[in-house]
């Protein structure tokens, strides 16, 4: 097991290096000279030269790339260009609010989607099944922006059931007061695609012989669905949930922006608006690394779910 994990980590290096080079090329080569962005409109050659020296971009590209790699390894990206806050502080303080919304959202979304998908797969081909599928298709075609705008306006602004926006200091206040509507919107948007996908996973299993055998043994239908079918369909479900986790971190950026939640997603939008390259570079590289780790974790989970899986 340990050897397997070590080998997988070793294999990640080329990909991670590729991400680093891609991000480097994007920001240091395609992006042009950041000194002009930093100096702003009122700049003189002396200022530009000074900023270039500070950033180390008067060096050759190889030296710059080496500086970038060193920054990633030491986790010291220096300070944000616009606020002067250190990048490590930005990342560590923004992660909490993002997770406060995302962890409950992911858990609820997975449980609700599995429950609904099992139900729909059980009555497959019926009118209910078709209506739910049509509702999912229509629901998925409405932009997430529309859900956020309308929910925020109607439920928070008009009816006053939820705070329109905001974020506090205490965890319980954030979770049970400010995060409720964002989680509700997140569920509305994400359940439809998961439900559709999980339904096909369960449909593949529900016509298998072992289901007939379980029925013949006289097992109750809930037991067949929740124990037998779910266990067998667990691998694709886990793959989907795990591969969605890093994207969720970023995907909630619209919600974070609308509700002024000081999370990673909102930080990215602010950074793009302000051309704050160090923040975007740091977040991109670390999220890519996290994605690879989550993929490894998913593979390890397969082993736990299905003992027949051989880790090679």
């Amino acid at each position: 097991m340990a050897a397997y994990i070590l080998r997988r980590l070793w294999q990640m290096l080329p990909t991670l290096l590729g991400v680093v080079v891609l991000v480097f090329l994007l920001f240091n080569w395609v992006g042009g000279d950041p000194a002009y962005i930093l100096a702003g409109k009122m700049s003189n050659p002396a200022q530009i030269a000074n900023i270039r020296k500070q950033l180390g971009i008067d060096e050759s590209y190889w030296v710059q790339l080496w500086i970038f790699v060193k920054q990633i390894v030491t986790m010291d990206f220096g300070a944000s260009w616009s606020t002067g806050e250190t990048i490590s502080h930005v990342l560590s303080t923004r992660l909490g609010p993002s997770l406060t919304v995302l962890v409950p959202l992911t858990i609820l979304e997975t449980l609700i989607s599995i429950g609904l998908a099992l139900g729909v797969a059980y009555v497959r081909g019926s009118l209910t099944d078709r209506m739910v599928m049509i509702a999912c298709t229509v629901g998925m075609s409405i932009s997430i922006l529309v859900y956020i705008i309308v929910f925020q306006y109607v439920l928070a602004y008009k009816f006053g059931w939820f705070p329109v926006q905001g974020w506090g200091d205490s965890f319980s206040e954030n979770l049970f007061h400010y995060a409720l509507l964002p989680i509700l919107i997140g569920l509305t948007v994400s359940i439809a695609p998961s439900l559709r996908l999980f339904r096909t996973f369960f449909l593949d299993e529900i016509s298998q012989d072992y289901v007939r055998t379980a029925r013949a043994k006289g097992l109750s239908e809930p037991r067949i669905l929740w124990v037998h079918v779910l266990r067998n369909a667990a691998i694709p479900v886990v793959t989907y949930v795990m591969s969605n986790l890093p994207a969720l971190l970023i995907g909630a950026f619209l919600i974070e922006r609308f509700f002024s939640i000081p999370g990673i997603g909102r930080e990215i939008i602010l950074a793009v608006e302000r051309s704050d390259f160090p923040v975007i570079k740091a977040i991109t590289v670390y999220v890519a690394a996290a994605t690879m780790l989550f993929n490894l974790l998913a593979d390890l989970l397969y082993k736990a779910i299905d003992p027949r899986v051989q880790l090679k």
Binding site: P14, G18, V19, S141, I142, A247, I269
Partner: protein
């Protein structure tokens, strides 16, 4: 006689043996839902074409209605009801932004201004503007406005209501939506074409040549897929400062090829050792010829379905990018920029622009998704 008929029928049958696309079309035509979806998509595409040619919605940015003119069925509203009383015609009220950190300060400034006006001890002869700030150019602006007002008398009368309402400048919403559809759908289609061409090309090279070519493209693929898609788009948008329709097509197209690559590569690996490719090899066909003349027609349906899926995904991405202000430039209508305006209008109770953009987008995306599903089933009946 009997033998003659069969002898005649044999070659006729061989000639009429339908190809993949004709069979798929037959299957598709028997699917009523798919045909309805196709009709809706076709309607949008025809409108797009007419709008692109300048036959429809050419003058969408003409100020034909009063500011925030309501839809006809609601009846005309006075300037007061519309919330534009006392405003210059081309100027709409700025709704109070609940997220504005300066909100309280602004409120206080306005209160002070009103109090000063009531006491008759205003800030000298310089009038205060909407934000309660002394405006040194106020006199000049007032003059300009009065001359503008004189011109306006000669201008055509703005209508009090429009069938689908007007936005804050008095643009007809239905024309704006048509123009917005043109932008959003064009971006979606063009970006999907670019991504599909890239993905197919990379997939063909990797799958056909194998060995280090395959390793290289697989590495490239894993690099692109390890960065979440939206993050990659935003990072590229941050670097490409220049806004424009072409920029956004490039952003979406250059980042979105991975899904096509994976599928096409698998197909090329499967096909490259088939007999017909070996036969082509035996008669001396070049690698390029085998890849794109012999193999590609046999896997083209996969690229086609992927392109259809990508179009929907890219239309959604464009709307989000334009909404955030990283997409189409100011002054170009797109569903995303319409939603951006509508966000503030909703607080004033002007729901029609939001509704028009959302409904147009939802109808197109639903129809396109349903059609894509049917197309995939029709092209690959084994899947069903």
């Amino acid at each position: 006689m009997n033998t003659q008929t069969s002898a005649n029928a044999q070659p006729a049958h061989a000639h009429s043996s339908p190809g993949l696309w004709i069979m798929a079309w037959r299957r598709l035509r028997s699917d009523r839902l798919a045909m309805a979806a196709l009709a809706v998509v076709a309607l949008f595409l025809v409108t797009l074409l007419l709008s692109a040619l300048g036959l429809v919605a050419k003058h969408w940015d003409a100020e034909v209605g009063v500011n925030y003119a309501p839809p006809t069925f609601m009846g005309a509203q006075s300037a007061e009801e519309r919330g534009v009383e006392g405003m210059h015609a081309a100027e709409a009220p700025v709704p109070d932004n609940p997220r504005d950190p300066l909100g309280p300060v602004l409120k206080q400034l306005r209160a002070e201004r009103d109090a000063a006006a009531a006491a008759g001890t205003g800030g000298g002869d310089a009038p205060l503007d909407y934000y309660g700030i002394v405006d040194p150019l106020a006199k000049e602006i007032a003059e300009l406005r009065s001359t503008l007002g004189k011109d306006k008398a000669a201008a055509p009368v703005r209508r009090a209501t429009l069938p689908f309402g007007a936005d804050k400048w008095g643009h007809d919403i239905i024309l704006k939506t048509i123009k917005g559809s043109e932008t959003s759908i064009t971006v979606g289609l063009a970006a999907a074409l670019l991504a599909t061409v890239l993905g197919t090309l990379f997939g063909a090279l990797a799958g056909y040549y194998g060995k280090w070519t395959d390793d290289f493209f697989n590495w490239f693929y894993s690099v692109f897929t390890s960065i979440p898609y939206l993050l990659l788009i935003l990072a590229v948008a941050a670097v490409l400062q220049q806004k424009g329709v072409l920029t956004i097509v490039l952003i979406l197209g250059l980042t979105g090829w991975t899904g096509v690559f994976r599928l096409v590569r698998a197909e090329y690996i499967k096909h490259k050792n088939r007999e017909y490719v070996m036969a082509a090899d035996a008669i001396g066909a070049s690698d390029m010829r085998k890849m794109f003349v012999h193999i590609f027609p046999n896997i083209s349906h996969i690229s086609f379905v992927q392109m259809s899926i990508l179009t929907v995904a890219f239309i959604k991405s464009e709307v989000i990018l334009s909404f955030l202000g990283f997409g189409v430039p100011v002054g170009v209508a797109s569903w995303g920029s319409m939603l951006n305006e509508a966000q503030n209008e909703l607080i004033l109770g002007k729901w029609w622009q939001l509704t028009a953009a959302s409904v147009a987008m939802a109808v197109l995306v639903t129809a396109f998704s349903l059609f894509t599903d049917a197309l995939r089933d029709a092209l690959d009946p084994k899947l069903k």
